[in-house]
């Protein structure tokens, strides 16, 4: 079991990360939260401080994570504040409008920048830190969208797929250092990111449910997790549809 007493959250103001933060605080954790929007980050930190006991430290920093130049400072500051780092959750991301990306490669690049390259930059620094300390867990929210390219959102899918592959390699490398690398594939979650979707049906999970799954996976040092069990089977099925047939489908 990995202990999660001191955790860094990137994209802390995301609905999923916020629920994760609350549950970690309830379990006695100290947190360092990085978020882009200053108002939302302040509201989050104030809330966590009210929930936390007097021994717990809740701190954080505002940062737009596409700005790679700040990553090293953020990680140093977090380590300084927390003393030591048991775990990291990288949760930030954006869901692009696929058609907009088709019309404009600049948009596509921006999405890949946010969803993949900014995360890879953080992971590069974190991997070295964790490798050195020879323990801990790094979790990243990827997506089932990264399991197979589909016409409806292949830019997002490609970015998340890049993460999933990168994390596989990193897991392989850090296994020797006793560091767990967890890829989270939440499926559909009812959050602001999916505000415009029709959320009827059993495929939708709530952020607090996903948060619970994330914490469990981090504690147990899982590899790739689908939060709701059936997504594993749905994606297994989707991945095995022959390409010659798949290309004619509208998924």
């Amino acid at each position: 079991m990995n202990s999660l007493k001191r955790v860094i959250l990137f994209g802390a103001t995301s609905a999923i990360a916020e629920q994760t933060a609350r549950q970690l605080v309830a379990q006695g954790a100290s947190l360092y939260c990085v978020g882009r929007n200053p108002d939302k980050l302040t509201a989050l930190i104030d809330d966590l401080k009210v929930r936390a006991g007097s021994q717990q430290c809740i701190d954080g920093c505002v940062a737009d994570l596409v700005d790679h130049s700040r990553h090293e400072h953020l990680i140093n500051d977090a380590t300084h504040v927390l003393g030591e780092v048991d775990g990291v959750l990288i949760a930030h991301g954006t869901l692009p409008v696929q058609q907009a990306c088709e019309a404009d490669v600049a948009m596509t690049r921006k999405e890949i920048e946010t969803n993949a390259l900014s995360v890879i930059s953080l992971l590069t620094l974190l991997a070295n830190l964790f490798e050195q300390q020879q323990r801990g867990v790094i979790a990243v929210i990827s997506s089932v969208a990264g399991d197979r390219g589909r016409q409806s959102n292949y830019v997002y899918g490609a970015a998340k797929g890049m993460l999933t592959l990168f994390l596989q390699g990193l897991r392989n490398r850090l296994a020797k250092a006793n560091v767990d690398v967890v890829t989270i594939k939440p499926g559909f979650v009812d959050t602001p990111m999916t505000a415009d979707f029709n959320k009827a049906g059993p495929l939708w999970a709530k952020p607090d449910q996903v948060a619970k799954g994330i914490i469990k996976a981090m504690q147990r040092g899982k590899d790739e997790v689908y939060i709701l069990w059936f997504w594993r089977w749905i994606m297994l099925f989707i991945r095995h549809i022959p390409e010659s047939f798949f290309k004619r489908m509208t998924l």
Partner: protein, 432 residues
């Protein structure tokens, strides 16, 4: 799924439903008008509904802002539920100063309906314990409201039915407790006469009192029931262990499971339950929130929903009006699952449209049988009106405009505080 109110009546859909998650974000000027906040839909009726425009869901505004465990002062966003507050403050020795019979209401909803609890005679209603709140108006103005200020925004917003703008946060004064238990005495009374005597005595001694009555009993037994009196338990060396269970109503029956037969059986059994005149300990959860133990219990009434009817009649009229109401109900062959009787204390409410006022309040629910039910409710209205009483907007889907206007004489002055971009189906109904 479209947001509904708790009694599932009326079924009206707004043009747009918007989840608010960031309290610093100004109201979006592109949202279709009118606007209305929706907390957790625990009102029975249409104060939280609009047929047009945008319903703004506030449950995403669920953050605590500040808590001083030494003074018991809590500031939180308006979408925080009472259950979430209790989970935070009870372990630190504090409790809500006033609470309705559900802990699933939000703070914003509790302010907007100026809700009351079993301790109204001792501590007043929810609004009496609000130290400050922040109101967002559609023109971009942000108004911090305090009870001691003179300009009226506070008085308008407490019990303001969500019409004065969006409440972003609320600061509450909590009350101290020693542990999570209540000391409760229950006592049977054989009729209304006994109730009046018993409840007067209980109110002088206990901070919490409420009575359940068997609204089917007639003649000499009319108004028989059980009075529950309680107080927060004193510090003690040994306390029982409490384990919370939860059940859920899983489906919508094709017709109401509340009918003549089940009502008769339930009421008769309830009256015969064992009482504890010598007192006993009860955990605060089952004591304050017995109905919350069955999730979605409102589905028991089936798809057509039900009506809540909660009136208050002034002290001088109560002893005549309450029997008249019960007579009318039994003559109509109707009954209510839970009929709740409680005396409000003399403390005047702070809100211009607050429901609580000195007198006796009776709350009933009736399965919706269409015109038949509405005819009964019209007859009850006549008795309430005659007695100079009024109905609770938070539990109303049908009262005529004239009854609202006579019961809330400040409603015209209140209009000056209504945000021009806000409205509800309730407000359109009672002001037209």
């Amino acid at each position: 799924m479209m947001p509904r109110s708790w009694n599932r009546l009326p079924r009206v859909d707004p043009d747009r439903v918007e989840l608010l998650t960031n309290r610093s974000q100004p109201l979006d000027s592109n949202l279709p008008r009118p606007l209305l906040a929706y907390g957790n839909g625990r009102s029975y009726g249409d104060v939280c509904l609009t047929e047009r425009g945008t319903l703004m869901l506030t449950r995403g505004l669920d953050r605590f802002i500040d808590f001083d465990p030494n003074r018991g002062v809590l500031r939180c966003e308006a979408g925080v539920t009472l259950a979430e507050i209790l989970a935070l403050v009870v372990p630190r020795g504090w409790f809500l100063p006033s609470t309705p019979g559900t802990r699933l209401a939000t703070v914003g909803g509790a302010v907007a309906n100026d809700v009351h609890g079993k301790n109204h005679h001792a501590l007043g209603s929810f609004g009496h314990h609000v130290r400050a709140l922040e109101l967002w108006r559609s023109d971009g103005r942000v108004i911090e409201c305090y009870p001691e200020e003179g300009n009226g925004w506070f008085r308008a917003t407490i019990g303001g039915l969500g019409l004065t703008g969006l409440i972003r946060w609320v600061e509450l004064q909590l009350i101290p407790i020693q542990n999570t238990w209540m000391w409760v005495e229950s006592q049977r009374f054989a009729n209304l006469d006994e109730f009046w005597t018993l409840s007067r005595r209980a109110e002088a001694l206990w901070p919490y009192t409420v009575a359940w009555i068997d609204c089917l009993a007639k003649g000499k037994a009319q108004g028989r029931g059980i009075l529950l009196a309680g107080q927060h338990a004193a510090a003690q060396a040994e306390l029982p262990v409490f384990k919370e269970g939860s059940k859920r109503m899983l489906f919508d029956p094709p017709f109401s499971l509340v009918n003549g037969l089940s009502l008769r059986v339930f009421n008769a059994l309830y009256y015969r339950q064992s009482v504890k005149p010598q007192g006993g300990l009860s955990h605060y959860v089952p004591y304050f929130y017995p109905l919350d133990a069955i999730q979605d219990w409102n589905r028991i009434y089936g798809r057509s929903g039900f009506y809540q009817y909660q009136c208050v009649v002034p002290p001088r009229e109560a002893e005549a009006a309450i029997p008249a109401l019960l007579d009318t109900i039994t003559r109509h062959g109707e009954g209510s699952f839970l009929a709740v009787l409680k005396t409000f204390g003399p403390m005047p409410s702070l809100g211009m449209l607050s429901f609580p006022r000195p007198g006796t309040t009776l709350a009933l629910d009736f399965p919706n049988r269409g015109d038949k039910t509405r005819r009964l409710l019209d007859k009850l209205d006549a008795i309430v009106r005659e007695a100079g009483g009024t109905l609770y907007p938070g539990k109303d889907a049908r009262m005529p405009a004239s009854l609202f206007q006579s019961g809330y004489p400040e409603w015209e002055a209140f209009k000056d505080y209504v945000d021009p971009d806000f409205s509800s189906r309730f407000w359109q109904r009672v002001t037209s």
